[in-house]
């Protein structure tokens, strides 16, 4: 079964450093997402991406964050100058055509620890 893959599974970084989280969405999907889950809290929407541009973003997704689809397969989340409160599990997700319904498939997550 097709799946969303994410790398790295776990990353530890120093506060103030830049981090890039990588994702390979399901190959025929067109909509891509990043969500995050701070330990013990609910999953929160960060951003959605379609047709090479951001289609929706939350208030969490400020100038510190950026997303990119550098080629035909990868989808990345960059966090500039990480803060302690950025420590969380970051989930990449993807979904297909709207006509096929809105089933959003999640990757296994990238656990980011900022120290």
């Amino acid at each position: 079964e097709p799946e969303v893959t994410q790398t790295p599974s776990h990353q530890v970084t120093q506060m103030g450093q830049e981090v890039i989280l990588r994702c390979v969405p399901i190959s025929n999907h067109l909509y891509f997402y990043w969500y995050r889950q701070i330990l013990g809290q609910k999953v929160e929407f960060l951003v959605s991406f379609y047709n090479n541009e951001i289609s929706e973003k939350s208030e969490i997704f400020d100038d510190q964050f950026s997303v990119e689809r550098p080629d035909g397969s990868n989808f990345t989340l960059k966090i500039r100058s990480t803060k302690l409160e950025d420590s969380a599990m970051y989930f990449c997700a993807s979904s297909g055509q709207r006509s096929s319904g809105n089933t959003i498939y999640f990757g296994e997550g990238s656990w980011l620890t900022v120290v």
Partner: protein, 112 residues
């Protein structure tokens, strides 16, 4: 603001028995989707079941079924014949096509 409420932080069920998890949501939109995701200790988000708001028929997936009450904005999940592997955190999620809002989750423990 759209909100999703899961009023049961924890639920316990005997193996082979049935458990029902509650979820309510608040929206003024008419076209949306509802989901239940399972998150085991590995923290992966696994889709359990989905429901389109325009469909009156309740979705079922093997031992999992939902009771969707659109007027009441309620979307409960029933797990029948519970198995040890069902133990996990379960999240209810609501969304239009382009994003989801999640509830706080319900931890399900299964007693052998």
């Amino acid at each position: 603001a759209q909100t999703v409420t899961q009023s049961q932080p924890e639920m316990s069920v005997q193996e082979a028995e049935t458990v029902t998890l509650s979820c309510t949501y608040d929206t003024s939109e008419s076209d949306y989707y509802l989901f239940w995701y399972k998150q085991p200790p590995s923290r992966q988000m696994i889709l359990v079941i989905r429901q389109e708001a325009y469909k009156q028929q309740n979705a079922t997936e093997n031992r999992f079924s939902v009771n969707f009450q659109k007027a009441a904005k309620s979307f409960s999940l029933k797990i029948s014949d519970s198995q040890l592997g069902d133990a996990a955190m379960y999240f209810c999620a609501w969304g239009p096509f382009y994003k989801l809002s999640f509830g706080a989750g319900t931890t399900v423990t299964v007693r052998a």
